[in-house]
Structures are given as structure tokens and as C-alpha cells.
């Protein structure tokens, strides 16, 4: 839940990048880390295995500056994508204000995308949150791969986007679509604050 300090006029929001293993969640954060000036970001924390697979989470704090007179900070998290890390995914999801679902555009990964999306919905429901009220966007990553290996954004939209969420084609390795995805989820999360969604510690 977003934390708002009316005295010092500060807002802190938690955004979680979710998706199957090797879909590019960590790559999104690494690209953002590389683009943002040092004085506007904290250290990127990665709890990873020796082979650089995310074990618990990656974490990147960002200082967006002033929005409507509030100093606005975002905490960006990734979850481990591999199926057997569901317990840690649930922990990282706690208190999320918004979710970016990073899908792998490779045709052979479609089942993994669907399973991961179902797993996300299950984990959100278990926290007592109505999935329809949680700000969310979809990113179709790896659209730079050869056409015969991937599904088009339209095909992925048909397969994954039954809620009609905002979608973004991306090549996170080179940064294509990363900025647009972050901008969209930021706007969705902050829109809830402008609409008067309740917030409290937790």
C-alpha cells in the first residue's frame, strides 16, 4: 500500500515486476538502473544464485522528484520466475501497489507465460486483494528476436490480456519499451492516489 506523508509531502510506492523465469524482469531493472542519474536512484540490490538467476528479489529505489507537490519515490522489485520459488514470490508481492507482468514473447514460452499469470492472480487473491483493483500492465519482451520464434504483440494480447490492460512491446536488453512500461504503471498507481484509494501501513 502506498505510504503518504502529508507533513513532509512524500509518497512511496511499491511496484513488482512479475513473470516467468528468464522473461527479462531483472533486465528491465538493470536497464533502468543504467539510465537513471546516480543522485536519483539507490543501490540496486540483487539476491541471486551463483548463475545470476533471481533467488529472492532484485530491488531498485527511484526518486521521481516532485509530483503534485509530493516528493515521489518508487521501489521497484522483481520476483524469482522459476516455478519452485512461489513462497518467495508471495512474500515480495506483499503490499504491492502495482504489477508489471513481463511476458516472454517466444512461442515456446507461451505456456510458461499463462502459468505465471495464473500464479500471479492466485497469489494476489491469497492476499485478500481483488485482482481487478490492482494497477497492472503487460510487457511483451524479447520482440527483437526473429519473427519465426516469437508471437506478435497481437497474438500475445489475445492469449494473455483478457482484462484489457495496457500492453507494451519491448526489447529490455536494449531498453525498447522499458521506459514506456514504467511510465504506464507509474501513472496507473498514482491515479489510484488521485482517486482517493485508501492507504495505511502494511
Amino acid at each position: 500500500m502506498s505510504l503518504v506523508n502529508f507533513t513532509t509531502r512524500e509518497i512511496t510506492c511499491k511496484i513488482v515486476y512479475y513473470g516467468p523465469g528468464r522473461s527479462g524482469k531483472t533486465t528491465n531493472l538493470q536497464y533502468i538502473y543504467g539510465q537513471v542519474p546516480e543522485d536519483r536512484r539507490g543501490r540496486m540490490v540483487s539476491l541471486a544464485t551463483q548463475t545470476d538467476r533471481t533467488l529472492f528479489f532484485d530491488f531498485l529505489p527511484l526518486d521521481l522528484g516532485s509530483i503534485s507537490g509530493f516528493t515521489t519515490r518508487f521501489q521497484l522489485y522483481t520476483v524469482p520466475g522459476q516455478v519452485y520459488y512461489n513462497a518467495t514470490r508471495r512474500l515480495v508481492l506483499q503490499g504491492a501497489d502495482g504489477v508489471v507482468f513481463v511476458a516472454d514473447s517466444q512461442a515456446r514460452q507461451l505456456e510458461e507465460n499463462i502459468e505465471s499469470l495464473q500464479n500471479l492472480h492466485q497469489n494476489i487473491l491469497e492476499q485478500g486483494v481483488d485482482v481487478r483493483t490492482l494497477p497492472m500492465v503487460l510487457q511483451f519482451n524479447k520482440q527483437d528476436l526473429p519473427r519465426d520464434l516469437i508471437l506478435s504483440p497481437q497474438e500475445l494480447d489475445d492469449a494473455l490480456n483478457f482484462r484489457g490492460l495496457p500492453t507494451f512491446a519491448a526489447d529490455a536488453l536494449r531498453g525498447t519499451g522499458v521506459f514506456e512500461t514504467l511510465k504506464a504503471i507509474s501513472a496507473e498507481v498514482l491515479r489510484r492516489l488521485s482517486e482517493g484509494a485508501s492507504g495505511r501501513p502494511g
Binding site: T7, G42, F59, S66, Q94, P201
Partner: protein, 156 residues
């Protein structure tokens, strides 16, 4: 002079007293999701956010581990380093569950930290107001400012 900053004013007096009594170097009071309510000793907010994310993750993972082995919780955690020790514990308040991370040096001890931590929790529980709903925070036309802030961040 190291600064103490608070998001919720009711945390300030108990925190200032605890820092002085326990001779703590750094203290973070946060929600279980890692959102900071009050802190002492961190010069940069973005550095503090990394520490709070890790502290909340340790508490969350040890809580999940406790559940798996049939314990209700494991209570406080303590790690001793060569120059610093950390004490990490959660507590319940009328404002909701909170997590407190304390970093201390050789000028104090884990025993003193534990003694004054109990007093700190009692003070937080006495001072905490009940959680309450809130109205709109941002103006409806925030999106243009958000767009400009992100464009600046990404050098666009």
C-alpha cells in the same frame, strides 16, 4: 548531528528516546512490506529504501520458515559483525504490524538493545493511532508532471 526523520509524527518521540538509550547508530521503523515510517541515521532516502527492503524480506522469509516448521514466529533476529551488529524484530501496534531494524556498534551491546527495544515497542504501542482511511492525495492532473519527471530521469 545525525538526523531522525519520520513519516508519521507519533513515531518520533519513542524513536528519539530509543536511539539515545540504546546508543543505536541506525534505526528503521517500517511496515512488513518495507515502507519506511521513521528512521535515524540515514543521509539518503534511496539508501534507506534498500536497507528497509532487505530487513522486511528477512522478517517475511523467517516468518514463512517458522510457519513451515510449525512455529508461530521466531521473534527477534540478531547478527553480530566485527564492527556492527543488527537487531531485527517485528511488533504489533494499533497502526498495524511494524518491523524495526536496529544497527549498533561497539559502544553498546545486544543486551542493552534488547532491553530498550522492549521499552520502544511499548512506547510505539501507546503512541500509535488506529489505521484510518484517507481521501484523494494527488491532484487529478498529475500525469503531465509524472511524464516530465520520468523523461528527466531517462534523459529524454
Amino acid at each position: 548531528m545525525t538526523a531522525t526523520t519520520v513519516v508519521e509524527p507519533w513515531t518520533e518521540a519513542p524513536l528519539v528516546r530509543y536511539v539515545g538509550q540504546a546508543s543505536a547508530r541506525l534505526v528503521v521503523v517500517m511496515t512488513p512490506a518495507g515502507q519506511v515510517l521513521a528512521q535515524h541515521g540515514f543521509p539518503r532516502a534511496v539508501d534507506l529504501m534498500g536497507v528497509s527492503a532487505l530487513g522486511a524480506a528477512i522478517v517475511a522469509s523467517s516468518g514463512a520458515l517458522a510457519e513451515l516448521v510449525g512455529e508461530r514466529s521466531f521473534g527477534a533476529l540478531f547478527h553480530a559483525g566485527e564492527r556492527h551488529g543488527i537487531h531485527l524484530a517485528s511488533c504489533r501496534t494499533p497502526r498495524g504490524p511494524l518491523v524495526v531494524l536496529t544497527v549498533f556498534g561497539r559502544e553498546t551491546s545486544i543486551g542493552l538493545v534488547e532491553v530498550f527495544f522492549e521499552e520502544f515497542v511499548a512506547a510505539l504501542q501507546a503512541a500509535a493511532p488506529a489505521a484510518e482511511a484517507r481521501g484523494p492525495v494527488l491532484a487529478g492532473d498529475f500525469e503531465a508532471e509524472l511524464g516530465r519527471s520520468l523523461a528527466t530521469l531517462f534523459g529524454r
